[in-house]
């Protein structure tokens, strides 16, 4: 495929980047409902509509639950759809979120991550990602504003792929990325359209047509149900390698690539590895470089795809390492450790029994700082040398 033209570079917030990504893909129907820290996504998309930049049917719903139902139905009728929300709104649409994936509706949803209800918090955290783990959606977590825009475009390509037909959540740290304005290259519309064009060559997915005898949402009775679950899980599996392919293709066209399921940063010759996700990865890169300069053979794995869990690629990246430290911006209820840590720990048969350390940090807009990450690397390094270590650390609690 031919390379894309250089896009316009603008200084925009993460929220605006999400809106731009959606606008470039021209969704047929999109919903808006405000919630801190993503209200701007809805505002920006509505502004694009009002300015005639896109002819999306914008529905200002009366609640997030309706937001998901509106886009799912429009999607099942054959439309391209987009919505955005955060934590509380996400949890409010939980039933509809399950329906979307069960219906295999290729909905794309941008989420500015924020702490979930239970403890009132108007601040960032990844608990909302964790609360959606078992909904059957594809979950991608991004590091910076450029990646938000690019990932939204890639999300449409992934969701609507005939082999996949699954809804995709593009997650970005609320407050850290949602309100952060950085320089973002905005692809030209023709190039975004070109990137999505392969979808038109694929078979058409079944859709709701008025007057036709095909009805959506039938009962799954016994083996019918089992079949649908089986197919759903199989599609999620296929999404792992599909994301790698799509990311590679994006790189070839737009010159920016993110590694697909995971990004491996200086891991090849690393003895110890840090695993992070989201905006904290940016900070982690700086610390990894500094520690490398001191002679510590540390590498970094950025977990981009959370669901489906990138088992194979993670196992390959972590195999043969001496110790691993995982920084979670959320908690794993019932296991009393970080949730991503827990899932990586499940890879022990493939990786081998090595020290794995869980770090819980960054809840409720508490920063994951350079000193924090330095500490993590030091402790993981010590563990790799056989020194006794603490399995789970809630970093701010120890300060």
């Amino acid at each position: 495929m031919a390379k894309a033209q250089k896009g316009q570079v603008r200084v925009i917030t993460g929220n605006a980047a999400a809106a731009y990504g959606a606008m470039l893909c021209r969704p047929d129907v999109a919903t808006s409902y405000p919630i801190t820290p993503m209200s701007e996504v809805a505002e920006q998309l509505s502004a694009f509509r009002a300015d005639g930049l896109v002819d999306t049917e914008m529905v200002e719903v009366e609640g997030e639950n309706s937001a998901m139902n509106v886009v799912t139905a429009a999607s099942m009728a054959g439309g391209r759809v987009f919505t955005a929300t955060s934590s509380w709104g996400l949890v409010f649409m939980y039933d509809a979120v399950q329906q979307a994936s069960g219906f295999r509706a290729p909905v794309v949803m941008a989420i500015a991550n924020r702490e979930t209800p239970g403890i009132l918090a108007v601040s960032g955290g990844q608990q909302d990602i964790i609360s959606m783990r078992d909904t059957g959606w594809i979950q991608i977590i991004v590091e910076d504003c450029q990646e938000i825009l690019d990932s939204v475009i890639m999300a449409f390509r992934l969701a609507e792929d005939f082999d996949i037909q699954l809804p995709v959540m593009v997650n970005y740290d609320g407050f850290y990325l949602s309100y952060l304005a950085t320089a973002v290259e905005i692809p030209e519309r023709e190039d975004a359209a070109r990137f999505l064009a392969p979808l038109k060559q694929q078979p058409e997915r079944p859709k709701l047509v008025p007057g036709e005898p095909l009805s959506c949402g039938t009962h799954g009775i016994e083996m019918g149900f089992m079949e649908l679950r089986y197919k759903h899980c199989a599609a999620l599996e296929r999404a792992t390698t599909k994301l790698d392919e799509i990311d590679k293709e994006f790189g070839e066209i737009f010159g920016r690539s993110y590694g697909g399921q995971i990004e491996e940063y200086r891991t090849e010759d690393a003895e110890i590895v840090l695993v992070t996700s989201g905006s904290a990865t940016g900070t982690a890169r700086t610390v990894v470089d500094a520690k490398r300069a001191e002679g510590i053979k540390v590498g970094l794995v950025k977990l981009r795809l959370f669901r489906p869990f990138p088992r194979k690629r993670l196992a390959e990246a972590l195999k043969g390492k001496k110790a691993i430290g995982v920084i979670d911006r959320s908690v794993g209820f019932g296991w009393n450790c970080g949730p991503m840590y827990m899932e990586i720990r499940a890879l022990t048969p493939e990786i081998g029994i090595i020290p794995m350390l869980s770090y819980i940090d960054g809840l409720a807009n508490l920063d994951i700082t350079i000193p924090h990450i330095e500490r993590v690397i030091d402790e993981v390094s010590a563990a790799a040398q056989g020194k006794p270590y603490q399995e789970v650390t809630w970093i701010p609690m120890e300060e």
Partner: protein, 309 residues
């Protein structure tokens, strides 16, 4: 042989669709008013619509079972919390691609008045191009006759049972059709199965108005099992509801109210309550309270109609 020409009732003239769109034998109770409603609506509106529904008494027939289905309509089944919102998504998308479609939400009162009220309210306020038909059997009948917010004052339900400390539902029903009229919907009407011509006209009116915006029809649909009515009396109960002014037949077109059927000498509500056993525990005072609610509601509707003249 009867003298003179044999002529069928003019209600048949309202049928656009001659084909029976459902299988002959489907899982609705004998005498069920929902079955009559469900079979009647597509005959009047035509088959080329999209029906949106959710769990409830309609679900066992509207939902497919694996690939099999009991009817030939285009149906979108969704959650109880998502009917008018899903319908909104469909309406907006079809509009965008230039397809003229009649989208009909078809739910019970449990969905419309309770768990699905928020999206209904939102869709009505946004004036979406949707027809919403609520069949009101005054409770969650499919799950075992539990109370809903349209269950009337004093009624027995399985969650407001009668005993030493229980006297049936302690609060009157939500006046759903009036609430929907207050949303500014372009067309709101009440209808029931004893007055089929009135119902047919309202369905056609709703279809006409849906291009302008949101239309809502509230159908009084007694549940024989939940209200303890004799199998052959479903239509009689509907008729009694109209004749006692318990369920007046009116419509509001762009905010102008009109009684579509005025009852010259309304009977007391006891003429209705005696046909069912869900009120049989009510003594004089209970019945008087029910009468008062019916009278006040009728007076309100009448005054709205008079003010619209």
């Amino acid at each position: 042989m009867v003298e003179g020409t044999k002529k069928r009732n003019k209600i048949f003239d309202y049928f656009r669709e001659k084909e029976e769109l459902y299988a002959g034998g489907v899982a609705w109770c004998p005498g069920c008013t929902l079955e009559l409603t469900a079979r009647f609506v597509p005959k009047v509106l035509g088959k080329d619509m999209v029906l949106v529904g959710c769990p409830g008494c309609s679900a066992p027939v509207f939902y497919g079972q694996n690939v099999g289905t009991w009817h030939r309509m285009t149906y979108y089944s969704c959650l109880m919390t998502g009917v008018p919102s899903s319908a909104t998504g469909l309406a907006r998308y079809y509009k965008k691609i230039g397809k003229d479609v009649t989208i009909v939400c078809f739910t019970g009162d449990g969905c419309a008045a309770d768990i699905g009220f928020q999206p209904l309210s939102g869709a009505a306020e946004r004036n979406e191009n949707i027809i919403y038909i609520c069949y009101d059997n005054e409770g969650y009948m499919n799950t075992g006759y539990q109370r809903s917010s349209t269950t009337p004052l004093g009624a027995w339900t399985s969650t407001t049972p009668v005993g030493v400390a229980g006297k049936g539902k302690p609060t009157p029903s939500k006046n759903m059709p009036l609430i929907m009229a207050m949303h500014g919907a372009v067309y709101v009407a009440t209808a029931t199965l004893s007055h089929l011509e009135d119902f047919a006209k309202k369905l056609l009116k709703a279809k006409e108005k849906k291009d302008e915006g949101f239309a809502y029809i509230h159908v009084f649909a007694p549940c024989l099992m939940g209200w303890r009515i004799e199998a052959d009396s479903s239509i009689e109960v509907c008729r009694a509801a109209v004749r006692t002014n318990y369920f007046p037949l009116w419509e509001a077109e762009n905010g102008k109210f009109r009684l579509t059927h005025e009852v010259a000498s309304p009977k007391p509500v006891t003429e209705l309550t005696k046909l069912m056993r869900k009120f049989s525990h009510l003594k004089e005072d209970g019945l008087a309270e029910l009468q008062k609610v019916a009278d006040e509601r009728y007076a309100l509707i009448k005054s709205l109609c008079d003010a619209s003249k």
